[in-house]
Symmetry: C2
Subunit: 409 residues, 2 copies
């Protein structure tokens, strides 16, 4: 359905479809409002989706923009049944949605894919969603710098560069330590230069992409809804948009049942939402992040209150785990499924384990855990957690090593 | 169809289904022979495949083993239409099959997946294919060590470890410089200890997994066969098995047409097959590899003669490209598609470019290029090929950098 306007999540004030993310009246966040959907037979809707492209653009009917030219978007990556992991946790049915299989090995492909392929395309729906469709666009990734030991670094994602694009990082000796600093700067630039940033003033459109994780989960489970979702929380956007995806499909009758129980996962070193959950608050007190889970290090989460509300109204929780538990979570997932995740995935698996150990999960439940990024990006965190033996390429050297390390020859 | 026996590709002598890969009579390589397939309606066969799991196990009918327990196998990763890449090369239709999206970000998941999930499963077809199905199995990755600058290193693939598994590498100061050394040692161990190695004496079964790249290509093109294939050659196994996949589906009527033109891609620093092709030989003279494309550095390719034959009988070629061309190929793919590949993918794209520039490709052709691995594994090769600006998280610092680097503010 075509998007109709932007609407404030708090006071319901509406705005035209432009580069704007905060309500002028109450400073609440804005979201995309769609035109009323004509009554459609769910079976027909399902057929249309199944006949669509093998990417997240098969869900274009539920997104603010149509499929842009050049379909290299992410999505439709594996939902794997993780029986060995379930067994180790004493659960019946655990599924891993592996977004590390996206083109840039992150769920971020879902939210940024349409922005980066702007040029040469100004279709009518596109321009409705973006009145300034003729703006030149640039890929200008801004990220916090690598932080020295014992924390983990984000490696440069060279692939996101395209011809003529520039990368700007903060000085390692500067004050930027996390995404909060970066977001603050981008907000200033967007105000002073009338620039659009995907994650700032284009955020209402951007964040809609995360709904596709819910759509794919449903489709890959054979048009069924899971009983429980375990998902990391940084800003809270992904967490709440997955729920929004399920809700939209429940509304149009594509699935039956009710919203899953939502469990949010944070690192103890940056857990404003988990802390608020535990203290019974409905707002989040900003924190200064200090954790190896850099990709979740948002100390002032924009969608924190909505994440809290979602966890509470679905009977879920928001839990936090230590850096050691995160490393164990990375290893548990790798050993049981072969999937190597970055630190955010370690947070998710560690919280899943905590829920299982605490007895929060009924053994009959079907649980889906969202793995949002790739372990090769935070290799430093894996160093020292496995053993390597180096030998000469001779039988004698092999036999010597076999004796030493206990490989039965 | 159940596998029936092993058969020598040269003298056609047959052997029972055991851990064996060389003909005792003529030293030719063995391949899996299947029972004659009962006449099946192609439409029915197609429906059965489409109703199968979302992984390579949907093609189990064409593989020597059935779907093992715990379906975390790879396969069904994206086939992306690369319009920007095609445009830059003056071609009409180029598709990228992106095997970097597999669980361990390599096409290797296709060939090893069933071996690593042996334990606790000894189904009848499994045990037919592997008479010693009760053998304990271990994941024992053997690889050449990292080689110092200016070459590229293989990073440890920690994810392939499972509980209790051991990794053995060669000494950096030892003599192992490439996969030839590793393969030689594994051959010795398999003989002396009666061990089975997936890539040595289990090779006839192992290599069958590569056929799934052809099957997926056909399915993802809407049950059509491409006009041309560009694919890297290391041992020549992947290259020839993709052709075998197309042939099997042509035989059973799942597709119509004829075998695509096959173009093989090698690095100049290890190009025994390209050299033989150019010199008109039907055998390959072994070479000592010296290239940044470590994953293709097999100086004595087991399937070299079959790769030569395939290229010649389909009107194709085997070309070689320099290390600089490989780096350019990596960058060309990243800039035009967003896919960041390791050096082998750079070889493939560089050869695709060479073919296009040489006028070998008719503009009307539908070309599929196979990207076999992930760029994060050979990051060293990308260093120095892009620019980064580090700034403080302030507007002043941003403006200063903007002036300097030409980001129009």
């Amino acid at each position: 359905m075509p998007p109709e306007s932007l609407r404030c999540k708090e006071c319901k004030e509406t705005y035209p479809l432009e580069a704007r993310y905060v309500c002028e009246r109450c400073f609440g966040p804005l979201e995309v409002l769609y035109s009323p959907r004509p009554q459609t037979d769910p079976a027909e809707l399902r057929r249309r989706i199944q006949a669509g492209p093998h990417s997240l653009w098969r869900y274009a009917d539920f997104l603010p923009v149509a499929n842009p030219r050049g379909d290299t978007a992410g999505g439709l990556d594996p939902l794997l049944r993780a029986d060995r992991l379930a067994e180790q946790l004493g659960l019946r049915e655990v599924w891993i949605k592996n977004d590390a299989a996206n083109p840039t090995h992150s769920f971020k492909d879902r939210v940024v894919s349409w922005h980066s392929r702007e040029r040469g395309n100004s279709g009518s729906r596109r321009s409705r969603a973006r009145p300034r469709a003729t703006w030149p666009t640039r890929s200008l990734p801004m990220r916090p710098p690598r932080v020295s030991s014992p924390t983990c670094s984000s490696r440069p994602t060279w692939r996101s560069r395209r011809s003529g694009h520039r990368r700007v990082r903060h000085q390692p000796d500067g004050r930027a330590r996390n995404y909060d600093d970066v977001n603050r700067l981008c907000t200033e630039i967007s105000a002073d230069y009338d620039w659009a940033f995907v994650n700032i003033n284009m955020r209402p459109y951007y964040s809609e992409g995360s709904k596709t994780l819910a759509f794919e989960t449903v489709e890959q489970l054979g048009w069924a809804i899971p009983d429980r979702v375990v998902c990391p929380i940084a800003s809270g956007s992904l967490f709440t948009k997955i729920a929004r995806g399920f809700e939209e499909w429940l509304e149009v009758g594509l699935i039956e049942g009710s919203l899953p129980t939502f469990n949010g996962a944070q690192a103890t070193g940056c857990s404003p939402v988990a802390t608020a959950f535990q203290e019974g608050n409905d707002f989040c007190r900003p924190v200064k992040p200090d954790t190896i889970a850099k990709s979740l290090a948002i100390g002032n989460p924009a969608d924190g209150p909505y994440a809290l509300d979602l966890a509470r109204r679905t009977g879920g929780t928001v839990d936090a785990v230590s850096d050691d538990e995160i490393r164990d979570g990375i290893q548990l997932l790798a050993r049981s499924t072969g999937i190597f995740t970055e630190t955010a995935g370690g947070v998710t698996v560690a919280v899943l384990r905590k829920l299982a150990e605490r007895g929060d999960i009924d053994p009959s439940e079907r649980v889906v855990a969202y793995i949002t990024g790739e372990g090769l990006k935070t290799l430093d965190c894996a160093r020292g957690t496995f053993e390597t033996w180096e030998i000469e390429p001779t039988l004698a050297s092999f036999e010597q090593a076999s004796d030493r390390v206990g490989v039965a020859a």
